[in-house]
């Protein structure tokens, strides 16, 4: 948090560092040599072409990317996906093969196809850093640049931000549910590869899950790509493939004497799995080692974990953990904790990696301003549905903290300034009689410069920094806003000037 809304313009050295970082990221296996320019909806290209034909493709515009509804009944979203956005913009160019394909569609002229050969992103991007707590209607990305560029990138930018923000948010709900009544947190491990909506969903989903607070992933490619801790032990097929469960457990302990986690539900948890695990635990102890944990993957986790805990304790194996992994989500985890389940770590798959109950975020990308006679003019999108009417103009988002706690966000025009030493009256943009005055506040500008004139000025943070940013952010919100069910609605207000502008454009508009 800067304490002032002024953005610092980076020097050449920072630009070099930012470039070195994105080039290193672009060499990661999940990013390397991936096709980018055609990852778009055809209408972006037809619109580009239409503007090109009309000679207006370099007209300067401003677009906002934001979402309207929080997923899963949550009170907020954790913004994620910016690294992917920067990777995409940095590598955005049309290859010969791309142009040949576009030619084959018989939609575009040769001059346009020729123009695409040298196409690069030359615009500005302001973005909320990954891991920032955000709310409906707040621009997460604000782009400014030629209309053809900003149109082309629409689809991919939405895909990246929608997906990673969705999964980070879902993960954080699940991680939060794993806090016990005493406030202790059993760690959550992301294990959803096999149920993910294909490869990228698994890898970038694991990344988002780590941002949301998961301690690790089962996904080795995500581990390799992003340095996320990987974990995993055995499946039922391991146990089945041995003549007996005890032999299977012994063979595993032999291969991983310092990292033995035994899956105890292949046959019968309490009659077979736990007794055999205790046997192996004792054998490990006899050689100075320690059985790390058992894992229960089916059945009544509350009952089984309590019985298993008792059996392990009676055998003196107090420090052997119990891991649960059986179609879990934030509700089943919370319910198991309420029932007194004795679980030391949770493995969560399907519900996390797909955000099963709400599998799409639905961010939108809307024109906010447009050059006219050399000046940016605000633009508004009318709708019969009032909450779909856009906020016009080039905007910023400010977060106000009072006594260190986030008190309200304000969407304002970019050239507005606010003085933290003077009282500021905020009002609800719909029910305008609802007003409150804040004073003695701190102020944080959420949108940070990422690209300026096509020049990367933002050094992407590493994943651990992003995760700490989430933790620090959450700590500054009231628990009523963070709770899982019926959270308080956090205030996102419009500045008086923005509100006046919006009203004026609404009244002026004629079909």
């Amino acid at each position: 948090m800067s304490g002032t809304e002024e953005t610092r313009w980076p020097d050449a050295e920072q630009h070099e560092r930012a470039l070195a970082r994105i080039e290193a990221i672009s060499r990661l296996p999940v990013y390397r040599d991936r096709p980018v320019s055609l990852l778009t909806d055809l209408y972006e290209l037809t619109m580009m072409y239409g503007h090109f034909q009309a000679g207006r493709h370099r007209q300067r515009v401003v677009f906002d990317l934001y979402y309207r509804t929080n997923p899963s009944g949550n009170g907020y979203v954790i913004a994620a996906g910016l690294e992917q956005v920067v990777w995409y913009l940095h590598n955005l160019r049309f290859t010969d093969a791309d142009i040949a394909y576009l030619r084959s569609l018989r939609l575009f002229s040769e001059p346009f196809l020729e123009y695409l050969r040298t196409f690069r992103f030359t615009g500005d991007l302001y973005a909320v850093p990954e891991g920032t707590i955000v709310f409906p209607n707040e621009p997460l990305l604000r782009l400014e640049g030629p209309i053809d560029e900003l149109q082309l990138v629409e689809s991919a930018l939405m895909t990246f931000i929608n997906h990673q923000s969705l999964i980070a948010t879902k993960a954080q709900r699940i991680v939060d549910a794993a806090a016990t009544a005493q406030g202790a947190r059993a760690p959550v491990i992301e294990m959803g590869l096999r149920r993910a909506q294909n490869m990228d969903a698994s890898v970038f989903g694991a990344r988002a899950a780590f941002i949301g607070g998961c301690v690790g992933t089962s996904n080795v490619l995500a581990g390799q790509s992003f340095g996320i801790p990987v974990s995993g032990t055995m499946g039922h097929s391991w146990v089945q493939s041995f003549p007996s469960e005890l032999e299977a457990f012994r063979a595993y302990a032999n291969a991983f004497p310092d990292d033995t986690v035994l899956l105890v539900d292949t046959y019968d948890v309490l009659r077979s799995g736990v007794p055999n695990a205790i046997q192996v635990g004792r054998e490990l102890a006899a050689s100075g080692r320690r059985l790390k944990a058992i894992r229960i993957d089916s059945g009544d986790i509350a009952y089984l974990s309590k019985q298993a805990r008792r059996m392990l304790d009676e055998a003196g194996l107090h420090d052997v953990g119990i891991i649960a992994s059986s179609d879990l989500n934030e509700w089943t985890i919370r319910d198991l904790i309420v029932q007194g389940a004795r679980i030391n770590a949770w493995g969560v798959g399907t519900s996390l990696i797909t955000s099963y109950d709400h599998p799409a975020l639905g961010a939108v990308y809307k024109l906010a301003a447009q050059e006219e006679g050399g000046v940016l003019r605000p633009r508004i999108k009318i709708s019969e549905n009032a909450n779909k009417i856009t906020n016009p103009g080039k905007k910023k988002v400010l977060r106000f903290y009072v006594n260190g706690r986030a008190s309200a966000d304000l969407i304002a025009l970019d050239d507005e300034s606010f003085n933290p030493s003077e009282p500021l009256e905020l009002f609800d943009p719909v029910h305008t009689y609802k007003r409150k005055v804040i004073q003695g506040f701190e102020m944080e500008a959420l949108l940070q410069p990422v690209y300026i004139g096509g020049r990367l000025v933002y050094e992407l943070p590493d994943l651990r920094q992003i995760r700490r940013h989430v933790e620090a952010g959450l700590a500054r919100f009231a628990p009523e806003i963070l709770r899982h069910v019926n959270p308080h609605i956090y205030h996102v207000d419009l500045s008086q000037r923005l509100w006046d502008l919006k009203q004026r454009l609404l009244h002026e508009w004629r079909p």
Copy 2:
């Protein structure tokens, strides 16, 4: 359909064709140089290593991949994803960077890491061709080979089959819903890129949607990669960026005089959008062209489409189509048709590309047999949940047709044979008193050889062949099985020998 269950062993020429085809596929932008070996759960690697340490990693086993529950209340699934499976197996090898990463985990010995350097898939794969109608518990893939290989590939194979089968099935529901009461079908276009769970979900989802019957996609990369027809015209930002809607429409018609589709809901469909579209339609007609369609993306589609149709007809523009695209799914489409909405094509995004109401298929991968003393012995996985008990042994799946209509499927042991000229008694594997006798049947073996001894013997079909396979398959099932709500449950029985084997193993088993 072969009419006999005998599989033909391909000659060298077929192998060459199969190889040439997968190598061409591997060069497609969506596949080229993608990382494969680490796209796995860590536990696959720890199990491989455990087997390696125990000197049993080359023990021969059989695994089945199948699912247990149809998604979205459907009565079946359309199998998809095999192309991705073959791409993965064909390209499966550990790079130096992969091995360096695995070394960094400090879990594996150098001899094991060295062993991975030359690791290749050497097993057998039998699979149902993409586009086959399949049912719960039927193996979609059957693998046989060394346990380390079959363990490694588990996670990725599930991801591919789960995702593409899920989306193909969802797409087919939506396409089917777009059949009017008169049986005419308005085409469905997949438009979900921005809401997809990242890049692969959009591209492979578009592929699966085409298999399921969509006529095209908005996703240009999917078009380039798989030859799927692409379509797209303009977004609201196009209209907003012009001084007036009429100018926006004219500029678009000027750029695409032979392919003009106008988005009419930016301001007001009936007071502005449709009148302006009619104006441009007349102007196009005056120059011998034709306005192709209008698109409505919000509001009351039933009311608006009927009014728009009337207005277009009154203007003599009878051949101008109406496209709808507004948070549609199989239920809203069917409901709009019942209300008499006048829609000529549907664009479907979020609900299709995420299978929103059921965003994961949940296929599993289970050990079915294992070498013991040089012979494959059946293996069973016990569970307290009866429907989670596996079917043991190396199996095949037969589909019986009576009078050309699919009558029942039978899961049998691979070495069983059935004589179509003799009566065959089938029985429900749970309620065994439910029996029926079929005779004069045709018989189709669903599992086809894909790899034999690590040698690719299956020439992957192109997407249009797969789509025709879906259509031909659906035509052979009773409508009661295909309907969207409470479909009849299609019989998937076990052969007497398989049933006896399963009972014997269940009774023999002791924890």
